[in-house]
Amino acid sequence: MSKARAAADPAADEGLTPRRNPDLTGQDEAERLLLEAWNSGRLPHAWLIGGAPGIGKATLAYRFARFVLAQDADGDGLFGGSAPATSLHLSANHPAFRRVASGGHADLLTVERQRDDKRNRLKRDIAVDDVRKIGPFLHRTSAEGGWRVAVIDGADRMNVSGLNAILKILEEPPNKALLLLVSDNPGGMLPTIRSRCRKLALKALSEDTVVKLLMEHRPDIPADDRPALARLSEGSVGHAIGLADAGGLELYRAMIGLLSGLPRLDIAAAHAFGDTLTRKTDDGVYETATELLVWWLARFARALARGAWPAEVVPGEAALMTRMANARSLERWVEVWEKVQRLFARAESANLDRKQVVLNALAALEAAAS
């Protein structure tokens, strides 16, 4: 469910990276806004594309970048004279598409977190030297005679030096230069950056859209699992795929099955659940399951505050929530949620025995529910 896992998922090997993806589903509103801005002839130089992970932010950024790069130097563009463009779509056979996909478009610069080969994951920050490449890139003329586009993927991952480097460019962007900042956490960025960008907030996808996308891109995921994954992912196809690959749905079913015993937990089943989570240390099962448990508790607390149960991912959830709500107040459950969250966080930092941590969390739930 984390970004790191989504980036390492098998879909990436199959070429479904945002840079190579010719299709974008479920973000028509955002596409329309970009097209309007383009057709107005006064395109803002910098955009901040925000929204949850896995809903198509980077895919939209590359889609728009390709569209802009394909408008050739003559100004007419390939979309027919001065008639307003009606779609950002570019065929996967278009030369600009090919070069963007290969990383070989000389008028596109991508800045993102690099891989840490030693640890086999993405580095924590975007390297400042990479951010500093944007200035010289935009101070060169265009190779193909049109626009120059810089995509900053994970823009909230720039450190202070990187932010300063980007501010200089945002303050005084050159002509025919476009900066597309993509971020899961636009609210966490400096106000001075946000105020210099046109904001574009992408909405979560509908469950139907996630189901459809899963069908198209991951036919290997059983059809019966798709609706549940769509609901569990809260409208993020990236998250849904990440969960599917981590066995998230089975874990979720097992977790709800176990919790259904509340106010009394089946001790043998709890131990078995703990064993499943900790059989291996590096398969991501423990991380996925603990994230799901924290997520479910938050969902429960939110629903309790609102006074209406959410649509069930697996049957029996509503009945379980009702029993828990009857046992304790909202305030108490929020405390439990925070306690469980702290427990898992401390387990990571202090390197505690993972199975014991899971059993402690379950015990805390049981204590609250009885």
């Binding site: 300063n164 480097a165 501010l167 200089k168 460019i169 303050e171 005084e172 001075t192």
Partner: protein
């Protein structure tokens, strides 16, 4: 003894004077609104007044790009060919318009120009440091006409405007210092557009001389040096005389 120091070449810069370079802020919003209303002005003239360096000249240039006005100066108005000024575009910018006051020939010239403009449905933009009520013109007819026409004040710049102006002045020199430099300057420099021009020019010069980037430490040195410099030459009107001499020098070269 000071260490040897390299003197840089004076490579100059191009000042952008277009509408898109003009920055609207609360201090000049009224004036901008009046200029936007042109040619629907209630009188043949509009006076824009405010302290040195508040951006009057730039406003004049912005209006000029739309009206194609000719530029005249209050100090030399008595020598100007008045019908000729209006002939090309029926619009004239009169800089230093308050300097006609007290000089009968100039006052007379402005009075005639005003009347000519009214007859021909032309327009005058009068730029001045003082409000028209404080011009002390002797010619009563001129006084009444100028007072009867709208006048709008431009204030000394606020933070937002000054920051935007600094960015623009740096951009004129193709420089793009970081936000931290702008913030640093804003809190420490004299708050006028003139001062902004001086500070940016001095920073440009210092960075070129030392082949250094425009950073906060460099800004600190430059501000310190500027303060010392003004301290030395700030005897009575000495400051003003030197800036005029500079202006003449530039005209001589251009």
């Amino acid at each position: 003894m000071n260490a040897p120091a390299q003197i840089p070449l004076d490579l100059g810069h191009r000042t952008a004077m277009g509408c898109e370079d003009f920055l609207v802020a609360s201090s000049n919003a009224d004036a901008v609104a009046w200029l936007d209303r042109w040619p629907a002005w209630p009188a043949p003239a509009l006076t824009v007044y405010g302290p040195a360096g508040c951006g009057k000249t730039h406003l004049g240039h912005v209006w000029r790009t739309r009206s194609r006005a000719v530029i005249a100066n209050g100090e030399t108005l008595d020598q100007a060919d008045l019908p000729g000024l209006l002939a090309s575009a029926n619009a004239v910018v009169v800089e230093d318009a308050d300097r006609v006051a007290g000089k009968p020939a100039r006052e007379e010239a402005l009075f005639h120009l005003y009347n000519l403009a009214r007859e021909q449905n032309g327009h005058l933009l009068l730029l001045s440091r003082k409000a028209p009520s404080r011009w002390r013109a002797r010619l009563a007819d001129l006084r009444s006409r100028i007072k009867g026409a709208p006048a709008v004040e431009v204030d000394a710049p606020d933070d937002a405007l000054l920051a935007a102006v600094l960015v623009k002045l740096f951009a004129d020199r193709q420089l793009r210092p970081g936000l931290e430099v702008i913030t640093y300057l804003l809190t420490r420099m004299e708050r006028s557009l003139d001062a902004a021009r001086r500070v940016v020019a001095a920073l440009d010069h210092a960075s070129l001389a030392a082949h250094r980037r425009v950073t906060v430490p460099l800004a600190r040195e430059v501000l310190a040096a500027l303060e010392q410099h003004t301290g030395e030459s700030d005897h009575g009107s000495g400051n003003r005389r030197s800036s005029r001499a500079r202006l003449r020098g530039q005209q001589g070269v251009g």
